[in-house]
Amino acid sequence: MAVVFEPTKGLLDVPTHYCPGCTHGIIHRLVAESLEELGVIDKTIGVAPVGCSVLAYNYFACDMHEAAHGRAPAVATGIKRSLPDSVVFTYQGDGDLAAIGTAEIVHAAARGEKITTIFVNNCIYGMTGGQMAPTTLPGQVTETSPYGRDVKLQGHPIRVSEMLSTLDGAVYVERVSVDSVANVLKAKKAIKKAFELQIEGKGFTFVEVLSICPTNWGLSPRESIKWLQDNMIPYYPLGVKKDITQQEVK
């Protein structure tokens, strides 16, 4: 993948701790560039999750909060209600958002909380060393599904974007991916749009980003991209799930 990066004011010039090839870094950049282009870095407050991106508070140049595992949307709610003119986002992994933090994200969306959530779905718990996530695909082997995820015993993966798009408080929900240059550009557009709608005061906005975890998938970065394309995209179809600014979206 040939993506050339200009430095962005949205990120601090520090080395990150992410594994080689991990796409968390790209996603950070897309968020940071969007904030910079919208000229809102100064009034943005981000909320970091518990997961591999726990140290995101060291990387984003805006003010940051660190939340307990899964609670970022509640923390963001507290921030936005205190400082209604600010731009508030959460950045969360699939364990953080779709397992332990399910209640918080569902209710933030249902309340139409004027925040933006960036949801990084890599089908696994990265930080703790590769356990099953709520988004782990059927049959996928992880540290806690050593015989492959058996949906009869361990349940089915959650399509979070589709689920949240049923809630009236959510105004914009899109699933994107960072597996190719074209998709990275689309992801950027989606993230920027989500922030724009937040700034316009429309309601809750949500962008799910399909991401890779070479380390815990046990694949090279290149193989991981292919695995994402072959396995994740068919299960988690890309596209806009809801957009109140467009009348009809399937």
């Binding site: 701790h17 594994c19 930080m127 380390t215």
Partner: protein
């Protein structure tokens, strides 16, 4: 009295933790007391890895090694970090293919082995750890080589046994030099 407090240190993926494990198994083979304590956490991701191993005919107190009778290092940061943990008269084993400086200490035994090269000759760079372990066992005599081989046979991968055995022997030669 048989007693060794050992630190193995290097990068993740070099077999640092398994080196320690095989030695612990070999110690058990001889009815010695053993403990093995790894570093853990996100720094393990391609970063540094180390473990403390104690082999003793006495009861083992703390499993953490502060003052090591032997230190094995497989990269420069580990040498910088642990050179001063070796007790006076102790042993420092260095993979000289990966560490680009000399040891500073003069009050300890230092064995330098081009372990990457030696391992490659034997079959694969991946078993450089075994070369170093061979030297450790030969020099300290903390366990018999047969016990270590038995541990490898029982707990290692079958298909690597012969290669590992050769690597251990090569390492032992360096210790005899």
């Amino acid at each position: 009295m048989a007693h060794q407090d050992i630190i193995f240190a290097g990068f993740g993926g070099q077999g640092i933790l398994s080196m320690g494990k095989f030695l612990a198994y070999a110690g058990m083979e001889e009815n010695l007391n053993v403990s093995w304590l790894p570093s853990y956490g996100p720094e393990m991701r391609g970063g540094t890895a180390n473990c403390s191993v104690i082999v003793s005919d006495d009861n083992i107190g703390s499993p953490i090694v502060y003052d090591a009778t032997t230190v094995v290092v497989m990269n420069r940061p580990s040498l910088d970090k642990f050179e001063h943990s070796v007790v006076k008269g102790g042993l420092l084993i260095i993979d000289s293919d990966l560490v680009n400086r000399e040891a500073e200490r003069t009050d300890i035994d230092v064995i330098k082995i081009p372990a990457q090269k030696v391992a490659e000759e034997v079959g694969s760079k991946k078993i450089a750890n075994m070369v170093l372990l061979g030297a450790l066992v030969e020099k300290t005599k903390i366990v018999k080589m047969e016990s270590l081989l038995k541990a490898l046979k029982e707990h290692g991968k079958e298909q690597f046994y012969e290669m590992n055995k050769k690597a251990l022997e090569k390492g032992a030669e360096y210790a005899r030099k």
